[in-house]
């Protein structure tokens, strides 16, 4: 019954990458996505959705990070997504207001 070891990640830096990508990267993607969405939709509505929907999305992203064979690729993906969402938010909020 315990999970077969041959399928599990053995190297420390890969484990570290997957756990941090899911936990930190997943959080960054979640929060930046909702903050970008708040520019188009009703701000308060998006924010209260973030309070509960954010946890569900974040948990999902944590699971997805473990599915990658290479944890650093998960980091790359989350970093790109979070950067895109943050950029959308940043440029609309501070330089080119809609």
């Amino acid at each position: 019954m315990p999970a077969h070891k041959k399928h599990l990640t053995k190297s420390f830096h890969q484990r570290f990458a997957k756990i941090t990508a899911g936990f930190l990267g997943g959080y960054a993607v979640t929060v930046s996505l909702f903050m970008a969405l708040s520019l188009w939709w009703d701000r308060a509505g998006v924010m209260v959705t973030l309070i509960f929907g954010g946890f569900i999305l974040w948990a999902g992203l944590m699971i997805v990070a473990f599915l990658f064979r290479n944890g650093w690729l998960a980091w790359l993906l989350y970093l790109v997504l979070a950067t895109v969402f943050s950029a959308v938010f940043y440029f609309n909020q501070y330089t080119l207001p809609l």
């Binding site: 019954m1 999970a3 929060v31 909702f34 209260v48 946890f55 944590m62 599915l67 909020q93």
Partner: protein, 539 residues
């Protein structure tokens, strides 16, 4: 699903579940009892409250009392709420905005006021057993913010464990649902119980992991970046927007005489609502030209699950605006829904009992998960020292978890028997009583290293101490169960009946427990010599 993904998710489920197990057990056990928080407080104070009598207070008298005690109310905003079903109301008074106000009127006030005797209490002097168990379920006894963060992240990782567990179990959901093999080896028993009860409890557990995380770390963690980047650290603005509160009127510094009776205003507001439950009375800028009186109410849960009615009066008692008590928007609706789902306060005692049973089922799922983890590794191919360490982990986890039951039962009787009602710091007594007995029982059972024995005697102890609670209450206060039932002091009756029924069930389980002690690990399979050596060197 590929074999790799199955095994990877299986492992994340095991590790995340094991890491949070004890903390999650404490949360669910204390949380399940907390469904009866208000009843426990009424029981402890011997103050039964009639159902649907929330905020049944004389507001004129309350305002007069506050004015004599805290100085002139002019220019101040007064908030009166009753967050729980009890006799006290919570009052906050903001400092006066009038710059020429006296020193005492420039202080903010936070107090609890008894609506019958007008006695006041601070948070600690009105601290109760019910409040203690409620706070234990989010580790508020650990200094802020660490206790809150710990419980919030435990809830979040619980969500992770639920979803990974569901994915791992996906293919066997139907085929294994009817599978229970109580006479097979222990590992099989724990597996069957863990998966079937986990599946039955899945919606309940999903709701509680999400709402729990929302209520405890929703704003701090999820809104952290937004509060600084969107709301520019203006917390008043943020909360006003996210709780859908109107902008408070600007202070004009033109004093006016306020000759309206707040009781009358509340009555007028309520007359156009259909039997709504009063939630809040807020008087903004008292005695100023800009003064406004807000009365808020929610529908009775029989009528609608959610709703917020708000009536606004001006200084002369003219109704400016009123919304229907069943009117709701998305923003207020989300907040109310999270609380409704988490507190289980929308279906009377029937729903609370169902919620309680599901909470205890979840405790069982947590413990069977830990035991399953140990049994699955208790085999010849595992190194003996590892098996030994696993057994220690299991016995410590089981001892801490199960000894909560007798410790809480003992606490109820002790609060009734020994505790002095005039104590100004009741939390000291409650803390020392509970944590000492919990610690002693946990260590005692853990060093016995016999889960069967821990289970058996925690049940017996909990049962005996639980039976004692209605008896002690009857002897000390004269409120025997048949009396409280006859005079409809429902809250007090519910607490005594709760302990009577749970004690009866634990006693029956105790009597039906058959001795099927697994032989001690080291004698079972491993070659004895090597193990004795290991044992001698390990301990």
């Amino acid at each position: 699903m590929s074999n790799r993904i199955y095994n990877v998710l299986f492992h994340t489920h095991t590790v995340s579940g094991l890491v949070i197990s004890v903390a999650l057990y404490v949360i669910f056990f204390a949380g399940s009892i907390s469904f009866f928080r208000d009843d426990i407080i009424a029981w402890e104070r011997n103050q039964p409250i009639k159902a649907q009598t929330q905020m049944n207070a004389d507001f004129d008298q309350i305002l007069d009392t506050l004015a004599t005690r805290y100085g002139d109310l002019r220019g101040r905003t007064i908030n009166i709420r009753q967050p729980h079903q009890e006799r006290n109301v919570a009052v906050t008074i903001e400092p006066s905005q009038d710059t020429s106000a006296t020193e005492s009127a420039k202080r903010s006030v936070y107090t609890y006021l008894d609506t019958k005797t007008y006695e006041e209490g601070t948070y600690y002097s009105t601290y109760t057993l019910g409040e203690f168990i409620y706070r234990l379920h989010f580790f508020a006894q650990i200094p802020y913010p660490y206790g809150y963060l710990l419980s919030g992240f435990v809830a979040f990782f619980f969500l992770f464990a639920i979803v990974t567990g569901l994915i791992v179990h996906w293919k066997k959901i139907v085929s294994n649902f009817y599978l229970f093999r109580p006479w097979a080896k222990l590992k099989t028993v724990w597996t069957d119980a863990h998966t079937v009860l986990g599946l039955i409890g899945l919606p309940f557990q999903f709701i509680f992991s999400v709402t729990g995380a929302v209520l405890i770390i929703g704003t701090t963690i999820m809104l952290g970046p937004a509060s600084s980047l969107i709301y520019n650290n203006d917390r008043d603005l943020m909360y006003r927007e996210l709780l859908d509160q109107p902008l408070p009127p600007a202070f004009t510094n033109h004093p006016v005489d306020f000759d309206q009776s707040p009781n009358e205003l509340v009555k007028r507001a309520q007359s156009s609502w259909n039997n709504a439950v009063l939630g809040r009375l807020c008087i903004q800028n008292y005695g100023d030209e800009s003064m406004k009186i807000l009365v808020e109410a929610r529908p009775q849960t029989r009528g609608a699950l959610l709703g917020l009615g708000r009536a606004t009066f001006d200084k002369t008692g003219v109704l400016i605006d009123q919304t229907d008590e069943e009117s709701i928007n998305y923003i207020v609706g989300v907040d109310q829904m999270m609380r409704r789902l988490h507190f289980g306060d929308f279906g009377g005692y029937g729903l609370k009992i169902i919620y309680f049973v599901f909470g205890i089922i979840t405790c069982f799922v947590i413990l069977s998960g830990v035991l399953l983890w140990v049994e699955a590794r208790d085999k010849r191919s595992t190194e003996p020292w590892k098996r030994n360490a696993n057994q220690w982990v299991a016995s410590i986890f089981v001892a801490i978890s199960l000894s909560m039951y007798p410790s809480i039962a003992l606490l109820f009787s002790m609060v009734r028997l020994v505790h002095d009602a005039g104590d100004l710091a009741p939390h000291v007594f409650i803390y020392s009583m509970f944590f000492t007995s919990w610690l002693i029982l946990s260590i005692g059972f853990a060093v016995c290293r016999n889960n069967y024995l821990t289970n058996k005697y925690c049940l017996l102890l909990g049962s005996i101490l639980g039976f004692a609670i209605p008896v002690v209450n009857g002897v000390v206060t004269g409120n025997w169960m048949w009396y409280t039932y006859n005079v409809q002091q429902l809250q007090i009756f519910v607490v005594d009946a709760f302990w009577f029924v749970t004690s009866l069930i634990s006693l029956l389980v105790f009597l039906r427990l058959k001795t099927r002690q697994p032989e001690p690990l080291l004698e079972k399979e491993a070659p004895s010599e090597a193990c004795e050596l290991v044992e001698a060197s390990t301990f």
